[in-house]
């Protein structure tokens, strides 16, 4: 069984909602990423998405655009992201690590090479925001040759035919984008979210993670009622940006504890 499958099996056994935590590699620095990932896991993250920065992140709102831009200024490339994943494993990180990014940097690295190297450093899967199922076959093949899951996204606009198409290709879990929109923390979750997730559920037995717009404990609890996991990205990036550099590790850990309900909010 893969680490991703194991994780969802354990979540089910423990009757817990999983936290999939996203951060951009190299935001604010590569050294920070190596400290922040363990902090997120200590705080309750079950899976970590390592954002591979791209110059033109067209599905991202302001927070992740900013973090990507800053990471690129630090010289973060797909190669650096692979190194970071390797170092995290060497530090003893055991949760699933998933690279999330855009297609062109992977193409430039070479799809087969990237998947090979990702597997070597101990990564578990890839999420590629601008790669719908129709265009995904070359990367999916490369992923599977190297034992990685390619995680597919579905959106509220996805028709039943498209959900079926993704269900036939997906492994690991299915990522349901909660809103028609870009990434970024929002006040409320959309009302139609549960009917969308149920629509997806009717086509696949895979676990479902819901992302985009999730930032508060009440969002996390609401997602937990309909899906196996919640993905939080922008809110973590915002937390990092807001914190005094000397306190970021503690703040991020605390944020994960609070959002998952392990600790009550102090403010």
């Amino acid at each position: 069984m893969s680490r991703i499958d194991d994780t969802f099996a354990r979540l089910r056994a423990e009757r817990r909602t999983g936290l999939v935590a996203f951060l951009t590699v190299g935001h604010p620095s590569v050294e920070d990423t190596l400290r922040l990932v363990p902090a997120l896991i200590e705080g309750g993250a079950d899976i970590v998405e390592l954002g591979v920065p791209f110059s033109d992140p067209l599905a991202e709102g302001p927070s992740i655009q900013r973090s990507s831009h800053q990471a690129l200024l630090q010289g973060v490339t797909p190669g650096v992201c692979l190194e970071v994943a390797g170092k995290l494993r060497a530090q003893g990180v055991t949760v699933p690590l998933i690279f999330m990014g855009y297609y062109n940097p992977l193409l430039a690295y070479g799809l087969e090479d990237f998947c090979h190297d990702a597997a070597q450093v101990g990564a578990d899967g890839l999420i590629v925001v601008d790669l719908p199922p129709e265009e995904s076959h070359p990367l999916r093949d490369a992923c599977h040759r190297n034992g990685l899951d390619l995680i597919y996204l579905l959106a509220p606009t996805s028709t039943d035919e498209r959900i079926e198409l993704v269900a036939g290709l997906a492994s690991g879990f299915v990522y349901c984008v909660s809103v028609t929109g870009v990434t970024g923390a929002r006040e409320e979750l959309p009302k139609a979210l549960s009917s969308f997730v149920n629509r997806v559920r009717a086509h696949t037995a895979l676990p479902i993670a819901v992302g985009f717009g999730i930032s508060k404990p009440k969002h996390f609890r609401a997602v937990g009622r309909i899906a196996e996991a919640a993905v939080i990205g922008s809110a973590i990036v915002d937390e990092i940006d807001r914190s005094d550099p000397s306190q970021t590790v503690g703040k991020v850990k605390r944020y994960a504890e609070v959002v998952t309900g392990r600790r009550r909010a102090a403010r």
């Binding site: 067209l58 190669g79 062109n104 193409l107 601008d130 719908p132 129709e134 265009e135 579905l154 984008v177």
Partner: protein
């Protein structure tokens, strides 16, 4: 014949496709269906043709530039006068087509991106005429250098939203327009201005712009009884060039030359010549040639002309390049300025800086050809919007 291209997956050979977030895939399918339906039925084409004639002023003239020809002493140069179309550039051809399509799909709101402002003005114009809400995304840097067009768009009732990310130019304006579209996809049509982006845009925009080449072909046959030896057009995203080339595709004797912006020179790193100096990659939903670094990050383009200042290019051009059907060359800022003043002085026509790239190359080419030869150039737009930039550039050189 490329009438069979793109294929069912939106590909021109290895190029094109649909590399977009899942949320947009249904909208692209809806757009393609609406477009194919509109094209198949009679009324859409009849309405579009009437607007192209009565509103946009088509057909635009084909003009034999005799003093320019005489001055160069070589091939006869014909100018396809897209600068005389309403709003002063070829962009209106596509804006009318997509505006009608937005109406047909029942989408009351339109977003568009613009570089030089020509497409933004065309979109704002069509939206005013059709009663659609219009939001135009424009890079901060382009707003600075194309102030006249910003004012025109606002006069036409469009909201111009400045884009402050990345290089603050066309590429970033497209990113923001796509983000808006992702967010408001139910109510909004993205009126993309060039033959770039995900399928069906490269096909659809090509078809709407093909009126340029179809008219020019007919007009030249009437004037000369034969087809040109060369067809020359500037290439940023490449819509005026595809519009000229596509209807001549099967005419094997006509050689196509696309002129990209070499900026401060191809070796300077400050240019916008994706085909001449880039390599294949994915940007804005399509696989095509792209200026990028080794790690696959998209490079910032540079050109004196805001409309060519784009690190990508339409996938059909990438296909023409690989198949050898078209040749792509690059012209520097400096040379484009020479082309600009040459046309002003010999013909009394102020070309857009974009078109001036094509003029410069056509002039160099015509010099080397015999007087029997014919060079057809797409004069894609008028240059009033560029007067300040040219004044600055010429001032700098003389000081």
């Amino acid at each position: 014949m490329t009438d069979t291209l793109p294929d069912a997956r939106g590909r021109f050979g290895a190029f094109g496709g649909q590399y977009v977030p899942e949320v947009l895939m249904p909208a692209l399918a809806q757009l393609e269906d609406a477009y194919r339906e509109a094209r198949a039925g009679g009324m859409f084409q009849i309405t579009l043709d009437a607007l192209l004639r009565d509103y946009a002023g088509r057909p635009t003239p084909l003009y034999l530039a005799s003093r320019l020809t005489e001055h160069l002493g070589g091939a006869r140069i014909y100018l396809k006068r897209e600068d005389l179309a309403h709003t002063g550039a070829h962009k209106i051809n596509n804006a009318l087509g997509q505006g009608l399509l937005a109406k047909r799909m029942g989408k009351p709101r339109v977003v568009a991106e613009t570089g030089a402002g020509q497409h933004g003005v065309a979109a704002a114009t069509v939206c005013a005429m059709l009663g659609l809400e219009c939001v135009v995304y424009m890079g901060q840097e382009d707003i600075r250098r194309q102030a006249l067009n910003v004012f025109r768009m606002r006069l036409l009732g469009a909201e111009v939203r400045p884009v402050d990310s990345g290089s603050r130019t066309l590429k970033d304006a497209i990113n923001e327009a796509i983000r808006d579209w992702v967010t408001n996809v139910e109510s909004t049509h993205y009126l993309l201005g060039s033959v770039v982006g995900p399928h069906p845009y490269p096909m659809m925009v090509r078809d709407f712009q093909s009126v340029i080449g179809a008219e020019a072909r007919q007009q030249l046959l009437e004037a000369e009884g034969r087809l040109p030896d060369y067809a020359v057009a500037c290439v940023g995203g490449g819509s005026n060039a595809i519009g000229l080339f596509h209807p001549l595709y099967a005419d094997d004797s006509v050689r196509f030359i696309g002129v990209e912006a070499a900026g401060k020179g191809l070796s300077s790193g400050h240019h916008a010549a994706s085909l001449a100096a880039g390599r294949p990659g994915v940007l804005h939903g399509a696989m095509s040639y792209l200026l990028q670094d080794d790690a696959g990050q998209v490079s910032e383009a540079h050109s004196i002309s805001a409309g060519l200042d784009y690190p990508g290019v339409g996938p059909e051009h990438a296909f023409y390049k690989e198949s050898g059907r078209a040749q792509y060359v690059a012209v520097t800022d400096e040379q484009a300025l020479q082309g600009f003043t040459l046309l002003c002085e010999t013909e009394g026509i102020i070309p857009a800086l974009e078109s001036a790239h094509a003029i410069y190359h056509a002039a160099e080419l015509a010099k080397r050809l015999s007087q029997d030869a014919i060079v057809l150039v797409c004069l894609s737009g008028r240059g009033d919007k560029d007067i300040d930039i040219v004044a600055d550039a010429l001032g700098e050189r003389s000081s």
